[in-house]
Symmetry: C2
Subunit: 348 residues, 2 copies
DNA sequence: CTGTTAGCGCATTCAC
DNA sequence: GTGAATGCGCTAACAG
């Protein structure tokens, strides 16, 4: 008779349940439950019984059915995470940070990467709520977002990350856009640039708005006027298109601040496409320091936001909120850092 | 009295259940269940009753509890996906491909990105099995992998992707390593290179082994002998370290084939670090065409594997296997393509 | 020290 | 055309 572990109940061919273990061990189901949940001491189970149960469980390859447990306890140990695009370097790094914290705390996570498709996002979020996710990490907030309202109405804890929404009751983890933008502009001013333009992100995304308004403010304090164009998406193509337009309209431009690194890459393409050089003729500063931005040609001067930290902070905040739903909402800012590399230089 | 939708049962403050809807609508729970599952016609419910139930459900903000449903039906509509690192460009793109297919088919997915930590991986996989994931996408197979055995023993359908394992009963979606390597070597031979070295990936990963053995075979057919070093991980640092060693030992080397693009980046660093130029003195060919490899300096010549396709094929295969557990296992190869860019050139 | 009981929310078979 | 009854697998309150 084989005594090696096996995951299948021999009679039914299905996974072993508590009842199977109980029957084999000659005890009641609840006794097995207690032992397997480490409550043997609470239930004052004899060491012999405990040992026997453990052995039977191992022999039958028992594995707790967390679906059944969740139905009973109301806790799933699952959270949902919603991002625009896993394949985006910046977001992937955030996901890694969040995933590490969640795994550490015994949580699994459902990932939805929905692009900019609102319907698809709504249905995936709905699936997460239906799956009784204990909380949501929400990285796709936009102005006029209606999905967010649904989450809040469902009473599910949520932490916004990366992008904010005007909702005072929610915790958020965001890049410090104002400070970051100031760092970038100060850098360009110190290089004696006088005509600086901005390639902004989508206008309904909080970071884009914050970076753009700070861009204008900081320049006007220096007595300068900045020009801005807003992209429809955070892509290289959009960066190319807008920079081309800006350089046509203001040929005296010697510096471009982009709202993120992908837009910055497109800006560099556009500069070259017009027969100018970066940074010799036009400097470019990006935002985020996404992976490999030091390896592009030229290496990108950028405002670094620790994406890993952003993700792990958001996850921690969510877990705290789950543990204590009365916790006051909090907004945490991730400090930016200026990284001077090769795409920025003195005014020609 | 408010009639707008709300997700909370007013009495308990908890989400509305079938029972709440049934009570409000003055019908039995099972009737509601039938209507909300589109079985109204099967149960021959009157249109009036159906309409009333639908309205009440909407008014109470009813949302199906998929945990309870899963316990009852045995189907969770969840699959698990295990990858070494979300923040790796190559894997993120695979994840996107898989995620799109899964979302399309109404599945959610639990993501585990576990690094190379076997214990952490084992516990996350165990959590997925406990959560009754209907199937697993497994991208971390290694020689001597013990977690895989556990999955198979649990009877959970699994599709290996990217990395293979010697397990005849499993479906897999893999890059065509042999064909890809042949393409790379043919390219280098056509450029008249005679001394070619290979920076291999970890030796317990199938792709590394396949690429390395094909490297040796193809070269020996041309009457040449290739030299190989195996990395411990797929990182730039390892590429740098091994290339440095290889160039020291065989200074006559004029071409490096790397087992992936990250190793190739490290190789280029090493070449420069020795005062040589790429591709003028030493050519480099990578593998995968990870995002942005066309933007590095120099733009990387590489063997492109469609990562998105690989992910979506794996997901499709998994869903087919879930639908039909008796489906015969199948191995699908993703066709490679040579992309000649700037990191390879004629022998100096 | 352990067993009994009840029920989480849902789908489904059977009954009328 | 609809209701009643059952149980998925588990935990927890209570009983003894």
């Amino acid at each position: 008779m084989p005594v090696e572990p096996m995951d299948q109940n021999r009679a039914t061919g299905r996974p072993a349940t508590l009842r199977d273990v109980a029957r084999e061990a000659g005890v009641h189901v609840s006794t097995v439950s207690r032992v397997l949940n480490g409550q043997a001491s609470v239930g004052r189970i004899t060491p012999e019984t405990e040992e026997r149960i453990q052995q039977v469980a191992r022999r039958l390859g028992y594995r707790r059915n967390t679906v059944a447990r969740a139905l009973r306890t109301g806790r799933t140990s699952v959270v949902g995470m919603v991002i625009p695009d896993v394949a985006n370097l910046y977001q992937a790094e955030i996901t890694r940070g969040a995933g590490d914290v969640l795994a550490e705390m015994g949580y699994s996570f459902l990932l939805a990467s929905t692009g900019e498709d609102q319907d698809r996002m709504a249905s995936q979020v709905s699936a997460m709520l239906g799956a009784q996710a204990e909380g949501l990490l929400y990285g796709v907030a936009r102005e006029g977002d209606h999905v967010l309202g649904e989450i809040v109405a469902a009473g599910t804890p949520v932490v916004l990350f990366n992008r904010s929404a005007a909702h005072p009751k929610l915790s958020q983890v965001l890049p410090d856009d104002r400070r970051g933008t100031a760092l970038a502009i100060e850098h360009l001013l110190s290089l004696d640039h006088r005509k600086i333009v901005h390639v902004g992100g989508p206008e309904d995304v909080s970071s884009s708005v914050n970076r753009a308004s700070m861009f204008t403010e900081t320049l006007s304090e220096a007595g300068l006027k900045g020009e801005i164009r807003f992209a429809r998406r955070h892509t290289e193509e959009e960066g190319f298109r807008l920079t081309t337009e800006l350089l046509r309209e203001w040929p005296e431009t010697t510096a471009v601040l982009a709202a993120n690194d992908r837009l910055a890459l497109g800006a560099i393409d556009a500069i070259r496409n017009q027969g100018r050089a970066c940074p010799a003729d036009v400097s470019v500063v990006g935002f985020n320091d996404m992976p490999y931005s030091d390896r592009f040609q030229p290496a990108l001067t950028t405002i670094r936001i620790s994406q890993y930290d952003l993700g792990s902070m958001a996850a921690s905040l969510l877990l705290e909120t789950i543990a204590d739903p009365d916790r006051l909402p909090e907004t945490k800012l991730v400090a930016p850092e200026l990284l001077v590399r090769d795409s920025s230089g003195p005014r020609p």
